[in-house]
Symmetry: C2
Subunit: 328 residues, 2 copies
């Protein structure tokens, strides 16, 4: 449509119906080879370039996936964005990127995605209000919550198995002989932080190990300040389990600032296995989130739902693994 040539012009020059032109470019009942050839030569002659919008009006489908993301400051999420973009590109789909600064996704963001008639929606680190949930359900657009559990089983969620991960981390630190521990939480209204907390403390309870819980916010600064206040109170535990890597790096820097040696005086475990945890200055023991597998499951689900919408909901949990480095 860029040059103003449309299907009607092509049909006229080819001496066929407009419906034949549509069927050649957008599918539907097949046309004869003769008709197809006529259409293609006319299209070439006129420079007809059917765009996605024309296509979508006929097929009622777009090849756009809306991706809603909050925290690009945490390197975990740019990595997730990259993997989704690459995976969907292979399937001929593009990413409409929505940045939200709110914990809860605003109705206007979802309205925009519905307005573009996106084929699917993926939300990484934000929450949906009931109103927005209903709008999406009505539109029959598949939606996946990535790295967040669905609150009411409204949608499909794809996570690593956070409960199992934090149980294994608790057992690992217990076996290392840590006798009192600290859990530094992320935003406590996120399912990821709650699950990591639950698995950790129920395992420590079982082993009768003491612990304290400090609330933080999934940011480097949050981890740094929380650890600093713990150090200043002189309450250094034998181990910290920190709800994500970027906070754990803040914890390590605060401990280093106060000359507290890791892993001798205390141990630190993070969560995510972002690339920076492997930097020699951190070399952080952490839990690897299997991003590629999580992305693959999400993409498969979205593509299946695009083909045949069922609205099926539930939680898919994928096993991760402990990456032992020098902070334990």
């Amino acid at each position: 449509m860029i040059n103003g040539v449309n299907a009607k012009d092509v049909a006229k020059l080819a001496g066929v119906s407009q419906s034949s032109v549509s069927r050649v470019f957008f599918g539907g009942t097949p046309v004869s080879e003769k008709t197809r050839n006529k259409v293609l030569s006319a299209a070439e002659e006129l420079g007809y370039n059917p765009n996605e919008f024309a296509r979508s009006l006929i097929t009622k489908k777009t090849r756009i996936i809306g991706l809603v993301m909050k925290g690009v400051e945490n390197p975990f999420y740019p990595q997730v964005l990259k993997e989704f973009t690459t995976a969907f590109k292979k399937l001929g789909y593009s990413i409409l990127f929505v940045q939200t600064n709110n914990e809860e996704i605003q109705k206007e963001d979802i309205d925009m995605l519905l307005n573009y008639n996106v084929a699917g929606i993926i939300i990484t680190d934000a929450m949906l209000s009931l109103k927005v949930t209903n709008d999406i359900k009505k539109s029959k657009i598949p939606l996946v919550l990535f790295n967040r559990k669905a609150e009411k089983n409204d949608f499909l969620s794809v996570c690593t198995n956070n409960l199992d991960a934090s149980r294994q981390i608790a057992n690992f630190l217990h076996q290392k002989g840590c006798s009192n521990m600290v859990y530094i939480s992320g935003d406590r209204n996120t399912s990821t932080s709650r699950d990591r907390e639950q698995g950790f403390i129920e395992t420590l309870d079982k082993h009768q190990v003491e612990y304290k819980i400090y609330e933080s916010d999934y940011s480097y600064e949050g981890g740094y300040q929380t650890a600093k206040s713990i150090v200043l109170k002189g309450e250094i535990p034998s181990a910290f389990f920190v709800a994500n890597d970027i906070m754990a790096m803040g914890v390590l820097d605060a401990l280093r600032k106060h000359s507290i040696e890791v892993p001798l005086a205390t141990k630190v475990v993070g969560f995510d296995n972002i690339a920076m945890t492997n930097w020699p200055i951190y070399n952080l023991t952490t839990w690897e989130q299997p991003i590629s597998k999580m992305v693959e499951k999400t993409v498969n689900y979205v593509m299946e739902e695009i083909d045949n919408y069922t609205g099926i909901a539930g939680n898919i949990e994928i096993e991760g693994q402990l990456i032992e480095r020098s902070t334990t």
Copy 2:
């Protein structure tokens, strides 16, 4: 269009022409208030929800900006993505995100953007072939190279003033008494790395200060390995100017690994002022790229060109500033 109701249905129920319906929803010659009311009540009754695709077929314009990005591993770029998304959102525009893994943008990526009839294109850290350049010029879609200079003045480029920045950095280190220096380059086929190198060495030449140039790749690992090899050769200079922050952090970690004290034994200056440079473990002296101003200039240009395409090209350079921290 989601529910299958179209402008024709609305026109029929309202008893007005289809053109009136278009003009109510998509602009053009105004309609009378009476007609407008008829159209709106019919639209409401039928649940008519004109989507962006329908809109774009009539107005021949979309409200999508294509953003092409390569290196999301460098936190500078997720920050740029966030600022562009926020700025365009305020203007009612959305971001179609394209991730390229190649130095040179592939024709298929640009074809996809043209296919979506995007209103504008922004490219952050990749290059355009001549073929692709011609396709974009022909489409009359405004394009901005962000943080890269245009090779042949084909397009508008928006950068910080890299030459001036590196001259000031050279003067600053010279005044600190550094008598031999090292420049660690980024990808040497990028304009940013070349300009930073040029400004730096021409100023050192003027002051008759010795220097060596090492080629690296804008990655943390590249900075780490380059500094490590310099240390192992025993050729530690009195200062390092490193072409971006993420590499400079690698340099700092390599120096720390070999117990070389910064800023006593050597000094380090980075470039970008990404958030991490302020982390206490790095506290890196660097050059602040004025991202917000660069984004503002880019957005203004794109919006003006959308209104009235001129295809004007050239380089806009915005002054940044030195941020002195503890590595100098």
